[in-house]
């Protein structure tokens, strides 16, 4: 039977919270107590033993079973009346929103035109619309136009969304952001993995956009929408980290620029 005092010391030694003096006391005790030594050795290797437990694959149908067991309409947002009414509704919105939608529509057309018309060593000249990866979904259940990868953010005094589209080697990142205070927006990527081609903004304003090795950064205040155009430098795509700073890091997300089968996840 091991004295409780020494058992406490053993546990503290395993946890790494024992003092030098206590450690010396424990070592002296263990040197003279074979049974205690064996138990200590066994307890010490327990973490490694537990980590040797096999990692089993979940049943292949588990995900499907879960998805079938939940009610997909539980959190459904109210649907539009029909496709046309959704589009017609845009023209009954306040003027500012109409501009936003017009801008977005123009931007989408611009994306398509840019993707198929810009020649870069003949590579994009061969762009086939079938190469467009599935980031833009047209006509969901609600009949709206949307982007599958849209990621919304809501922070204190800052809101917006970011979405990406990849067509051939063209990478487009659309950023919509509203911030009462000045913030810094940054895109970071491996140098050479992406080439920045330019950007457009809905409302022309000076934002000190800076291109730095492995990224770009700019200041932002107020409400605006941006479209950034990059060229994929790596055939298998890369990862762009989007960050919002204001003295400290407020938000970040990762954007994968791979297309087709090489897409992550």
């Amino acid at each position: 039977m091991i004295d409780q005092h020494y058992m406490d010391l053993i546990n503290r030694k395993i946890d790494g919270t024992i003092t030098d003096r206590e450690n010396a006391e424990l070592e002296e005790y263990l040197a003279g107590e074979g049974e205690a030594r064996r138990l200590y050795d066994e307890m010490e290797r327990l973490p490694d033993l537990i980590r040797q437990l096999d990692i089993a694959d979940p049943p292949r149908d588990l995900k499907q079973r879960i998805l079938e067991s939940v009610d997909p309409k539980r959190y459904k947002s109210p649907p539009s009346r029909n496709r046309l009414s959704g589009i017609r509704g845009i023209f009954h919105r306040p003027a500012a929103l109409r501009y936003v939608y017009s801008f977005a529509a123009g931007l989408l057309i611009g994306i398509a035109v840019y993707a198929v018309s810009v020649d870069n060593g003949g590579r994009r000249g061969n762009l086939d619309p079938r190469d467009v990866s599935g980031t833009i979904v047209i006509g969901g259940e609600t009949g709206d136009f949307r982007t599958a990868d849209r990621n919304r953010f809501e922070l204190e005094g800052i809101a917006g969304s970011i979405e990406s589209a990849v067509a051939g080697d063209v990478v487009l990142i659309r950023l919509s952001v509203m911030s009462a205070k000045q913030i810094e927006l940054a895109f970071e990527y491996e140098p050479g993995a992406l080439n920045f081609h330019g950007y457009r903004q809905r409302v022309a304003q000076s934002n000190s956009l800076e291109i730095i090795p492995g990224g770009l950064q700019m200041k932002h205040q107020g409400e605006n929408e941006y479209m950034f155009v990059f060229e994929n430098g790596a055939p298998s795509g890369t990862t762009v980290v989007f960050k919002i700073h204001s003295g400290e890091l407020l938000y970040n997300c990762r954007i994968k620029t791979a297309t087709g089968d090489s897409k992550g996840r």
């Binding site: 406490d8 064996r38 437990l53 096999d54 089993a56 588990l62 953010f153 990762r254």
Partner: protein
């Protein structure tokens, strides 16, 4: 493709985007299933527990508080669900031999599985409270604080349970001859 944080995915789910929930399943089904498997020692039961946890997660998504890690929140549900399952039946049974990962052949596993099964057998001899803290600490690499949150007890209770669990488990392993040279 944009990799979202858990909290963002939760917000998207609440906005009616079921595909965001599918991403959360992809992200967490493996660790949850494996923890349930080690807690129960039963493949079918681990599957049912994992499925049940995800169903409850979906149903209670509105109650999730973003100040907690989503990961901790679903683990807490896993712990509660495992307790419910084990309360319903006496789970003092031995490990199902079919437990080994489907992706590996029995030959690949022969040596390792033997040890793994014996460790699992020893774990199943512990009372559930002790088994749980050992697994959460070493199998899931959680801190005392995180475990305390998951099982709703103070940190010092976690520590004292783990101390006892370690001693008991070491004694079982020694008694069975599963020693360091195994």
């Amino acid at each position: 493709m944009i990799e979202c944080e858990d909290k963002t995915l939760v917000r998207q789910c609440l906005g009616g985007d079921t595909s965001a929930f599918a991403i959360l399943i992809d992200r967490y089904q493996r660790p949850l299933f494996n923890t349930a498997l080690r807690m129960t020692g039963d493949y079918e039961e681990a599957r049912d527990i994992t499925q049940s946890v995800f169903m409850k997660v979906y149903q209670k998504l509105e109650t999730y508080k973003p100040e907690h890690k989503f990961f901790s929140w679903i683990y807490r549900m896993l712990v509660n669900e495992s307790i419910n399952f084990l309360n319903q039946r006496d789970r003092a049974q031995v490990l199902d031999p079919g437990l080994i990962s489907e992706s590996k052949t029995p030959a690949d596993h022969h040596q390792a599985a033997r040890l793994s099964d014996r460790i699992q057998d020893a774990l199943l001899e512990l009372q559930f409270d002790y088994r749980m803290v050992v697994l959460l600490r070493y199998f899931n690499d959680m801190s005392y604080k995180e475990i305390g949150y998951l099982i709703s007890v103070p940190e010092k209770t976690v520590k004292s349970r783990l101390y006892t669990a370690r001693r008991l488990l070491a004694e079982i392993l020694l008694e069975r001859g599963i020693v360091s040279h195994d």
